[in-house]
């Protein structure tokens, strides 16, 4: 199962009004490291079904949201809680390193 897509139009309801922590993976087709990290995020989501939701946002198709959050490097993985950014992780990393970065949301 791979992460569901969110868009500029759905960001408010899908992410900002979401009732638990949700991580947005800002990515693009042409970004090699994004393609590398995507299956790892899927596995983390699968292994933590009740804790952290993970969705992805294509920065080419949804430039408004990417610009609003000042994305200048992808993959960028932002965790939102109650409409606010509570954690930023930048760059593709191995699974154990990502899990360590996200530990507070996976416990």
């Amino acid at each position: 199962m791979s992460a569901r897509d969110v868009t500029d139009a759905s960001f408010q309801s899908d992410v900002l009004e979401h009732d638990k922590p949700i991580m947005v993976d800002f990515w693009a087709e042409w970004c090699g490291p994004c393609r590398a990290v995507s299956p790892i995020l899927d596995r983390i989501a699968e292994e933590n079904p009740d804790k952290l939701d993970i969705v992805k946002l294509n920065v080419d198709d949804n430039p408004e949201t990417a610009m609003k959050y000042g994305i200048t490097s992808i993959p960028a993985m932002y965790v939102f809680k109650g409409g606010e950014v509570v954690k930023r992780v930048i760059g593709a990393k191995p699974k154990p390193a990502l899990e360590a970065d996200l530990a507070e949301f996976l416990v």
Partner: protein, 320 residues
């Protein structure tokens, strides 16, 4: 136990895998969990790899090498090596959270890692305007001013690529001439968006939440200037990735793994090295691929010689 384990998934690793697989050695290739494909995964058009007159995208080239290696029976593991035990006849490779793979030979082809400037603010603003990958991040600098640091092929390639998006690209180099190839230099010099700042070193990266400018110091007279940019792309070369073999394999004064003559033989029998990790000089995709061939053939000869030796000391078994 395997005949051969290849560590690394750039041109050297995959080419070694193609040759080893075609020699029926059924290689296992450890590709890493996120950095697989090596440096070419972060490049756009590769124009100097023979056989692709129209150029090929770096990630596409690596995908093809991977498919070619798999076609002949290479098994690929997408995980990170955490420990290597190289002495002895059985080599042990530990990956991820503890799985151990064993083999009679190892081909070590881990390439090199981007060098950093070493400034505290560079690390703090990494991902917030400081980047090592123009192809990944360039598009976020539409109509902005950016700086590329470095004077080699990769610096000029990044600078030229960034002109697609940025209004202005400063090429900051600490010398007064470039190491880059003539073709790359001609292209960059002809580009009206690229301005060369010679004999300048980066002393500061400014900005609270994101890059707001960089401070330069002249290497000639120490004059300090501030450059108004929102992006800084660092392309000052790379260092061989040898941390897994420190204390095990001999290194050269340049920090690469020492090999015997033109071979891939390291200081431990049965351990071979290939690609940028043994090459302080050329560091091209095509030279790395050639180096991978050498390593696979050396491993094949080593295994055959070991088998002959085994047969000689156990004549009964050999004639049975």
């Amino acid at each position: 136990m395997r005949q051969v384990i290849i560590v690394g998934s750039g041109p050297a690793g995959y080419t070694a895998a193609i040759y080893a697989a075609r020699a029926n050695l059924q290689p296992l290739l450890i590709a890493s969990s996120v950095d697989f494909g090596g440096e070419l995964m972060k490049t756009t058009e590769v124009e100097n790899f023979p056989g692709f007159p129209e150029a090929i995208m770096g990630p596409d080239l690596m995908m093809r090498m991977q498919q070619q290696a798999e076609r002949f029976g290479t098994e690929i593991v997408y995980d990170d090596v955490t420990k290597l035990e190289l002495s002895g006849d059985v080599k042990r490779v530990t990956v991820g959270e503890g799985t151990v793979h064993e083999a009679r030979t190892i081909i070590y082809a881990t390439g090199s890692a981007y060098r950093k400037l070493g400034l505290a603010d560079e690390a703090r603003l990494s991902g917030y305007g400081v980047s090592w990958c123009a192809t990944c991040d360039g598009a976020f600098f539409k109509e902005k001013k950016v700086a590329v640091i470095g004077g080699g092929d990769s610096a000029l390639e990044e600078a030229t690529f960034l002109t697609r998006f940025a209004d202005k690209v400063y090429l900051v180099h600490r010398r007064d001439s470039l190491r880059a190839s003539a073709a790359m230099q001609d292209r960059a010099f002809a580009d009206p968006k690229i301005e060369f700042l010679w004999n300048q070193e980066v002393a500061h990266v400014y900005g609270d939440e994101r890059v707001a400018g960089i401070g330069l110091v002249s290497t000639v007279d120490g004059t300090e200037t501030t450059l108004d940019v929102t992006g800084m792309f660092v392309a000052i070369g790379a260092d061989p990735r040898t941390h897994l073999v420190h204390g095990q394999l001999d290194l050269t004064p340049e920090g690469t793994i020492a090999v015997e003559g033109r071979s891939s033989r390291t200081s431990i029998p049965g351990v071979f090295a290939a690609g940028d990790v043994i090459d302080p000089t050329y560091k091209q995709a095509a030279t790395a691929a050639g180096s991978g061939v050498v390593a696979a053939l050396d491993a094949e000869h080593y295994l055959a010689a070991q088998d002959d030796l085994q047969a000689a000391v156990q004549p009964a078994a050999a004639t049975a």
